[in-house]
């Protein structure tokens, strides 16, 4: 028996590796090894008052810290039946878009694109193609500017609190964001052009199950309480509170991340899943971009997640601009957060983090302190699907050379945009 081992995966967030066992041409065990240390944050948050929860659970992950913060707030507000204002809803969606722009730009330009062009890093790439790297950095900075303006900080936002925001942004700040987003329109088009120009990455093909938030507006990372799973043309819808029917998590010995399966099949979450579940988002400019990227939905190639992120960059910039126009038209009120009246109750929230479905589910005691908390992250949801695609890539590869296979596996892993800090989460058994 031989083995392909990637000890410590580079250019991803967190600590993970890949092991594939080969028996001649037959693929044996395939493992996405997560050896990120367990921080046990969910049990540690027990006993915390409702307003202390988001700042702690935000620390699960820096790149998704807006998603963790806002999903945590939504779960808490669901528990206590708090209805936030329409302005808060808009500002939260805008904050999500900022995080998505930063995260996708970071992932595409600094982590994924260097592979396609055969460079070990964006810094190395910048020596030959500075314009490509500068384009990515501009988009990344735009995402951070939105997060700083609305969330108060680019990483671990501080301004979003139960019931609303500490302070609403000033009109001048929104006007500044608007002009930055105008430049972002051109930059996100250029990012799509770049992605369309890259050599094809075709390492495996197989039917894939996709799951994503089904939003009432078809275009929200934040609003909505339903998840749709799409498999072989059939569709199934779950309510947030039934999330265990979708996730069916189980612990596996080789990984500190839990694995999920839907009707015994692994499923993929993230940009590609969002576009598959909500294809009606793809109108106008996005429909043209989809054609240029040669993206077919539902896709049978996990590498297409990179193309889907490029499409979402365009969509995120457009949507952020729309929200700002809407806020400027309506005027921004400096409104205090809606008061929270704690009671013994449970609340669950589902949103779309940049890398896919994120679930926070809490129960509170009568004083508004956490009795139990469950967090399910996109990278944990993706782990089983990622292993399936590793297996298919090795099975479908004509080449048996270790270096070739290893490169394919690493590129597939990066296409999933894993956030390994996120994947190590704790599940309280029901």
């Amino acid at each position: 028996m031989s083995k392909i081992v990637i000890d410590h995966l580079a250019r991803v967030e967190g600590h993970g590796g890949i092991t594939v066992e080969l028996e001649g041409d037959t693929v044996g065990a395939v493992h996405f090894d997560v050896f990120e240390g367990a921080r046990l944050l969910e049990p540690l948050v027990r006993g915390k008052r409702f307003d202390e929860v988001a700042p702690v659970l935000s620390r699960i992950c820096s790149i998704c810290s807006v998603a963790h913060t806002l999903t945590s707030l939504k779960a808490t507000e669901n528990a206590f039946a708090v209805r936030v204002s329409p302005q808060t809803e808009l500002l939260r969606e805008l904050l999500f878009r900022g995080e998505s722009i930063e995260s996708h730009a970071l992932h595409l330009f600094l982590l994924a694109v260097p592979d396609y062009l055969n460079y070990p890093s964006a810094i190395a790439l910048s020596a030959d193609k500075p314009a490509v790297v500068l384009l990515g950095l501009r988009l990344k900075k735009l995402g951070n500017l939105i997060q700083e303006t609305i969330g108060g900080r680019a990483i671990h936002p501080v301004n979003a609190v139960p019931g609303g925001f500490g302070k609403a942004p000033a009109i001048e700040q929104l006007i500044e964001l608007r002009s930055a987003l105008m430049q972002g329109m051109a930059d996100s088009d250029a990012a799509m052009d770049l992605m369309a120009s890259l050599p094809a990455a075709d390492f495996c093909h197989c039917d894939t199950v996709y799951a994503a938030l089904r939003s009432p507006s078809l275009d929200s990372y934040y609003a909505g309480d339903e998840v749709m799973a799409v498999s072989d043309g059939s569709r199934e819808i779950f309510h947030a509170t039934d999330y265990r029917a979708l996730t069916n998590e189980r612990a596996v010995p080789h990984s500190h991340a839990k694995h999920s399966a839907f009707r015994d099949k692994p499923f993929m979450v993230g940009s590609l899943a969002r576009l598959t579940v909500n294809p009606r988002r793809l109108t106008g400019k996005l429909a043209v971009a989809k054609k240029r990227l040669k993206l077919q939905l539902p896709a049978d190639n996990p590498m297409d997640n990179n193309k889907a992120q490029a499409l979402e960059l365009i969509n995120d910039v457009e949507r952020a601009l729309e929200i700002i126009e809407q806020l400027l038209r309506a005027g921004v009120k400096d409104e205090p957060p809606v008061p929270v009246h704690p009671r013994a109750a449970a609340g669950t929230a589902i949103t779309e983090a940049p890398r896919g479905l994120l679930i926070h589910s809490y129960s509170y005691d009568a004083e508004g302190r956490i009795a139990s908390a469950d967090v399910i992250t996109p990278t944990a949801l993706n782990a089983a699907s990622l292993e399936m695609h590793f297996r298919k890539a090795v099975e479908q590869s004509a080449e048996r050379d270790d270096a070739v296979l290893s490169r394919k596996l690493q590129m597939i892993a990066r296409a999933y945009d894993p956030c390994i800090s996120c994947s190590v989460h704790l599940l309280r058994r029901p």
Binding site: L44, R59, S126, V161, G166, L426, R428
Partner: protein
Amino acid sequence: MSKPTVGIFGLTGCAGDQLVILNCEDRLLDLAALIDVREFLMASSENDTACQLDVALVEGAVVSRRDAERLRAVRARAKTLVALGTCAVWGGVAAMDRGADRPALLEEVYGKDGLSYDSQPAQALHEVVKVDLNITGCPIEKDHFLAAIANLLNGDVPVYPTYPLCTECRMQENNCLLTERGALCCGPITAAGCKARCPDLRVPCVGCRGPVSDANMSSLTATLAEKGFDREMIAARLRTFAPEGAAQ
């Protein structure tokens, strides 16, 4: 003069301090011209994992044997070791309840499998190896990181505020959340350096930068107790980002 060699490492944490480095979008390419980054796994797949380093920047806490071994190996290679962020400096959120029964928590979360995981109570870097410079913050401030690099390049050590957050908050003429609103604000005992980011947005400080060196804990606890907060809750709040016993 040859460029100083630098390694950037993450132990267990959220990678937020490494992300702050990558968030220096306007400076990233200048930085790459001034320093020779030999190892930075989060950003590069070409790493020299054995070379001597002039500066090692390490974020995250030590929560496993593997973390401790990696940290000792980095220490052995580095002339100057910098702890980056609250987890590295203080232990951070993973250390908030490190007296808890860890096997019980692991089993609760992962079932029986959890008992075999490589897992130990979270420690700050200085509890495992000698640390030459601390840059606190959750995450660190971009300016503090850039100042550290600029100083280290010139053979200097950067100086960070040693006064409490309240000082910065007053300079911004904010109304006091603690005395005027009775909010549980950690400003009086938390290290300044963030320009009182949270109180400036009318959000109470959660103490994410860790305690200021001359924190007057008893006076803050007394003030909060007067406002009706129970002592156990105050103590739990104060150790959320920096556990008792991690003080240097």
